[in-house]
Every structure is written in C-alpha cells, then in structure tokens.
Amino acid sequence: MKTRAPTLADEARRLEELARRARRKLIETACRSKTAHVGSCLSCVDMLVALYFGVLRIERESWDRRDIFVLSKGHAALALYAVLNVRGALDDATLAGYFLDGGSLPAHLDRATHPWIEASAGSLGHGLPMAAGLAYARKLAGSPARVFCLVGDGESEEGSVWECALFAPRLGLDNLTVLLDVNRLQGYGRPQELCAFEPVQDKWAAFGWDVRRLDGHNMAGLLEACRLPACGKPRVLVCDTVKGKGVSFMEDELKWHYYIVTEELRDRAFGELEDPHAG
C-alpha cells in the first residue's frame, strides 16, 4: 500500500489537536491551582505548539546546537508547562505541583525548576534581551541553532524590548525570531488605547527587522512563518491572537487576565475543547 507524504495541512490538523489537548491540560491545571492569567496563556498555546511540535530542533543534538525557546511573557508559564507536558518533556506529577504550596512549578518561570525552562522570566521585558544574548553567543560560536522568543503586546511597552529591537539588527542576529503575541488585552486595558501600539509591524520594520504579520491561531501559517530561512535580519512574527482563545466565554475578555476557573467553568471549557473527530 502506498501512503502519501503528509502535507502541511495534515501536519497543521495534527498540531491543532495537540493544541486542544494542551488547552485542556492548561484549564485543568488552572482550575486545580486556582490561578489567574488563563486568557494570557490561551492566546499563545498555538504558537507554543507550532514551535515545540513543528519547529524547534531540540532533542536530536547537544544543547550547544539545539534550538532555544525563551518565553519572555513569563506570566504565560502555565501555557508552556502544558505544552511541554503534552510534548512529554514535563511529567504529570510535576505539572500537578503547579502553583501549589510545596509544589514544583511557580506561576512565573524559574529556570532552576525544570531543565526545559531555558530562562527565568516574569517581570516583563527581560526575556528578549536574554534571547538576543543567547543568539549572539550562538552566532559567535558558529552554531546553526536558532533562538525563538515569545513577547507579549502589553510587554512591548517595556523600554528594554525596544532597546533590544534597536541593537539586534546591528548585531546581525538573523538566528533570532520573535513571536509577538498581539492579543490586544493587557492587565487593565488595551495596548492600542493606552499607547501608540499600532502599527506595530511598521515600528519593528523601521528598526531593521524582517517583519511578517499573521494569524497567531493559524497552525499552517505559524509553521510556515517559523520555518522561513534566515534572511540576514532578525525576524519578528507579529501574531494576531485572541486572549482566551479556544474557550468562547473567555475570548477577548479582560477579566480572564484574572478570573479563576471554577469546576463548573472547567467542564464548560472542556466541552468546547473536545476533539471534533473523537467518538
């Protein structure tokens, strides 16, 4: 029997199911731990799944040569934990200790807690400069590895993000790709209402970055963009997303920066996150 090679669409479908699984893990863990930032986590799950299942070369090479991912918006740590769990890198027992007294994982990233957490992060605007330093060191060492960094839109109000934006092109960091999670809601408002956030792609382009703007929930588009070859400039993928994506009553709602998932809401969310092909 002859089987055809999987297409990008096939791969995207497979990853979409993995993203649903990661969202279920995320909701379940958020419910158990009674933690906030659920909306901030849900907006970036698809990006994380695309990276960890379709882009990052992680296991086949030594650390020096493997790709690195830095989550700069550290308050989305739970999304990373959930995706790493689905990826098999972080076991259920460890995830179950999330945000619990005497547990294993804090709500913001601590590199010391798990070998797959590449950089500690929580205070905003820290991860990107570190990712740039990693990319630069790799470049100097002649490593083929790439560095990816996920930055929030609210986070982009930090001056340190723009300091990095200013220096990275001059340093030749074409091995660095930033994924900008534009979920259009920050802690207490919308970036565009608080500051001159848009047109954000023009700002990065003016700083000398290769800029693409895409739907941050389109798996095929994410895979394609993350797999683009280096072009001599650092790259930023401006990803339009929805805060709370995947759970209708959380989508684009500021309160889901803070609200706790009750057991009732968890079950409602699970109902929306079932595999449409299952059963």
């Binding site: 020096d64 601590d110 590199r111 010391a112 590449e118 950089a119 500690s120 992060a121 929580g122 205070s123 605007g125 820290h126 990107l128 400069p129 570190m130 990712a131 740039a132 330093g133 990693l134 990319a135 630069y136 060191a137 790799r138 100097l140 060492a141 001056g159 340190s160 300091e163 990095c164 200013l166 220096f167 340093l171």
Partner: protein, 306 residues
Amino acid sequence: MRASVAQALFDAAGTNPNLFVVSGDAGFGVLDEFQRRFPHQYVNLGVAEQHAIGFAAGMALAGRKVVVYNIAPFVLYRCYEQVRNDICYQDLPVVLIGTGSGVAYAPAGMTHYSIEDVAVARTLPGLVVLSPADPLETRACMAHALRCGRPTYVRIAKGKEPVLHAQAPESVAEPLVLSEGGGVAVLCHGSVAAEVVQAVRGMERPPRVLSVPMLQPLGGEALRARLEGVGTILTVEEHYEIGGLGSIVADWMAAHNLRFRLRKLGFPHAFIHAVRNSAGLREAAGLSVDRIRAAVAACMAEGGGR
C-alpha cells in the same frame, strides 16, 4: 584601578577565548587596546543598560564568561532588576565592573556618584561584592572575579590611585593588613583606604588598618582572627554610612554575638547637592586625612583596646 582592570581583561582574554567584554558605551582610553586586539570578544551595547545586562545574562546562559563594564550606577541602579532576575536569580557568573566608586567623579553630580552601591549590591544573594583599595588589590579582585564562577560586582574608582600594598595580595577573600597597630582597628574598602593609610602614619598609638576588599561574602573567620587585641572597630568608607561595610560589620557582630565598640565613618544619608571635587566632598563627610586621624584618635581616647 582602571588600568589594572584593563590589563587583567587583556591578559585573561589572551588565554581564555571564552571571555567576552560588554561595554555600556564606556571605556574610552581603557578598553581601546582590548577591542583592537580582541574584536571578537568585545561589543559596545550602547546606552541601553537594561538590555546590556539581559544580553550579558543570555550570553552567560550560552556558556560565555561575560564581563560588563560601565559607570557604577549604570551596572547596578538603572538595571537593578536585570541584575537581580537575569544574573543573580539564574546564578550566572557574569562580572559587573562599576567605575567611579563613591564620589570619584565629583563634581559630576549625584547621578554619577555611587555611595549606595554596596548597600544595593549586598541585597542580592550570591552576588560577590569586591571593592579593592589599590591597583594591586584590583588585579587580585579581577583574578578572583574571573575565576570564582559566581555573579560578581567589582567596584573601582578611576585612575592613578596609589599602591598601598608592599606586594600583591594572594587572596582577596580575607581582610588584608595595610598597617599594624592595636586597640582600634580601622576597616576600610575602596580607594579611600589611601586616606586612611596616610591618616594613621606617625600616630603615637597607631591602629591596625585592614582593607576588606571582599564585602560579600564577608570573610568573617579571618576578620575575627585579625581583630585580636582590638576593642573598637572604626569603619571608613566612601559610601553612605548606612548599608555599607559599617552595616555589614554590625550585622556580623550581631550574628556572632561579638562585643566590639563600633564607630562608622561615611557619607551622611542624604543626597549631595554641593558642587565640590572628590577631596572636598570627602572632607565634608569626614573622610579626609585629618578628619580620619581625628576619628581614630577619638576611638583611642574612648578606650580603644580596653
């Protein structure tokens, strides 16, 4: 001290290709030769201190031995949270070199003084804090910083500080004797040690003068051994009299139930608006040769040793 730092970096880079120097747009006349000789081990990350520290941490995550060079406020204050979260929290062996300790850059103005840097630095667990007194201690401090594998802050003055030691100290992990005496021990750090050495010269009852280049962790055991026969400790530092060596010694005494009389000489806890040169500001704070001598004499008169 700057020349000692430059020489230490130059020598280290020659034998260690992993060494990398990040300048925060500082180093004119100090790093010129270094960047000419080691262009692939140097970058100027400009006037962007938060980024520079995070970037240095990122390079350290990738295994590079990174040294950041800048004026003290710009490696510690402007980017305190990056030093805290990116370097110290992640336990990365980045070396921060802060120049212009105390009021070395006077009358540049308060923004360019660092008279609270020790207080700030010692809030960070695991950060080694070094404050050399002379060019020889500076070399030894650099050697320690490059070797110890810990996050390290090295506080230096500027150029042309006199040599105080007869020979290069082997270790900076312990207090170093600058001159012998008894009854009163003067503990100092940084370039103001030159004033202390001059102040006690020719005194009828000379105190023991100790330089304490490593302020964190404090070499407590060795310090205790060097305080044999001492009743009063006088700390002298070009720093606020709170939060620096005086406070470190007070904490140490409290932790170990030690009964020395403790007197502190340093800058009063206030912003400096006076437009004076370094000597003038030191004088006003009681850190001139004459006023240090008077403070030592007062300690002796208080009962010094017994």
